[in-house]
Amino acid sequence: MAKKGSYDFYLILATTVVLALISLICVWAMFYFKMAGIHLLAAAGKAAWQERMNTIISPFIVALLVLLGICVPKRLLPVRWLNRFAVVLLIAALAVGWWFGVRVGLLVILGAALLLQSAVLVLALAGQDFLSFVKKGYWVRVGSSLVHLGLVLFVLDLYFHRMPTLHLLLFWVTTATTVSGMICCFYADSIARLLGREDRESAEQSGGRKDKG
């Protein structure tokens, strides 16, 4: 369990708070949808409703993006360097956002998260021990890397939602990555047995540095 006051603890807390707020907005949206009779509106009215809700939710998606940008490199870097990385990433994103617009600034964070998570996946596949994971099994680490790569891809996919072909292609890559990651993560022992390669440690024997997942 992440220690109270640690870097991971605050990352977990921040992510939980953002997810809880997104959930609350979703529940509010359900009731508003019914009370205001959005379903009875013409297409333009529905589009306006979607645009309005997108505007309301976007700060929280941005917050998730920033958390993702900070969260991903913690597999690779010690906490001291992680803090520096987070500050540099935020400054770079803000600077790019200032000059080229918020969308480009977000793309910088997403691009950095994608590159780093891809590197984590390659290292996990190569069986590198220095990566920081809660679980120690090979397939658990590969699975966790895939799930997190899927999350980054999913947000990137939302970013490109106005480009239908790329959007759908990215969507299927996201789905394949996330689902295969979950299978590797949840059924690590069975996969290891099936492939004749026992994990060095069972998925249930947690140890080492704790993280947010």
């Binding site: 997104i22 979703c26 529940v27 949808f33 979607q50 979950m182 993280d211």
Partner: protein, 343 residues
């Protein structure tokens, strides 16, 4: 409805089957109740065979449903005359040019037929509860704790009661589907009215009844619901009696359910783009599903990264909350308007 296809045999076979399920459910309810309150196991062997029999009956009924759908496929094609087909194909070709997802042209040699998945209308409850019955069988074999087994039986009998009294798929088979298509088979339909009706039925056939996603999106979610129900039961028991084996079973069910739920929800996305275009985002059901998924994610993360004894109460609370979110999400289809509404 019965004019289109002879449903007599289907209903005649379904009636005793549902009655047998209800009677068996009633007996298992008694066994479950006694086991919950007794310190010693009672009639465990008989209850096991009852559970096996319920699963067999469910499977038989499911085969019967499959047979009805096969008959619909063979006996109810949407046929048009050659002249109308030629005119229609010109309209379809023109419509396809401006559509993101076009519809196949009409082939007179092979008129479009319904390939209806086995979980629409009341059948979805049948499939959902059948999935739970199977999962309960697996859970029973894994855990030899009579009180927990009693809980499994009580939940199953609640579902059987709902199925028999509120959602019997054999009493009135596919009422909405048959009311939709019955005008098509009327002899008094004028040619242009027939074309108009075809243009109403055909998109619904392509994007709903015959959609490939329909074979994956709903059943994955219903199986996930079954897993959430098992996790709910284990969470309830964990509040009273913290036993590692119960906790482990709940976690395994949650992992499997989460995998199915995530995959199922993701598969709904490209389907919604095809069927509804972009105007479905922020639909109430989508909102509640995202909320349920977020709670489920929190439960799994808590169990995965905070698996200490003092946290068991909290993760159990999340397991129960997850079940409540599932019920709320399901009821959202009845209570809230939108694309998923059953109103």
């Amino acid at each position: 409805m019965t004019d289109l296809i002879d449903l007599h045999l289907f209903q005649e076979l379904g009636r005793p089957l549902m009655l047998a399920l209800l009677v068996l459910g009633g007996l298992l309810f008694l066994v479950g109740l006694v086991n919950i309150f007794r310190p010693e196991p009672w009639r465990q062997k008989e209850a096991w065979w009852g559970l096996v029999l319920i699963n067999l009956l469910f499977f038989l009924g499911f085969a019967l449903i499959a047979w009805l759908h096969w008959r619909i496929n063979r006996e109810l094609p949407l046929e048009l005359s050659d002249q109308l087909a030629a005119w229609l194909n010109r309209q379809l070709a023109a419509a396809n040019q401006s559509a993101a997802y076009g519809m196949p042209l009409y082939d007179p040699a092979s008129p479009p037929r319904y390939v209806i998945p086995l979980w629409i209308e009341n059948e979805k409850y049948y499939f959902w509860f059948m999935g739970y019955a199977f999962l309960a069988l697996l859970a029973w074999r894994r855990l030899a704790l009579h009180r927990f087994r009693g809980g499994l039986l009580l939940l199953l009998t609640c579902q059987l009661g709902l199925l028999f009294f509120l959602a019997d798929p054999f009493a009135e088979p596919l009422p909405r589907f048959f009311s939709e298509i019955s005008p098509w088979f009327s002899d008094q339909l004028a040619p242009m009215a027939r074309i108009g009706l075809f243009m109403k039925l055909y998109p619904r056939m392509i994007f709903y009844y015959n959609a490939h996603y329909m074979w994956l999106h709903p059943p994955l979610l219903f199986m996930a619901y079954g897993c959430i129900t098992i996790t709910f039961l284990t969470s309830l028991f964990m509040l009273v009696r913290r036993q590692p084996e119960i906790e482990r079973l709940g976690y395994d069910a949650a992992k499997f359910g989460y995998l199915l739920l995530t995959f199922g929800m993701l598969l709904g996305y490209p389907w919604a783009l095809q069927a509804w275009g972009p105007n479905w985002w922020w639909d109430p059901k989508i909102c509640s599903s995202i909320m349920m998924w977020a709670i489920y994610s929190t439960y799994l993360h808590t169990r995965l990264y905070a698996n200490k004894v003092p946290m068991w109460y909290f993760s159990s609370f999340l397991g129960i909350l997850c079940f409540a979110a599932m019920i709320f999400t399901f009821l959202a289809s009845f209570l809230f308007p939108g694309e998923h509404t059953f109103q």
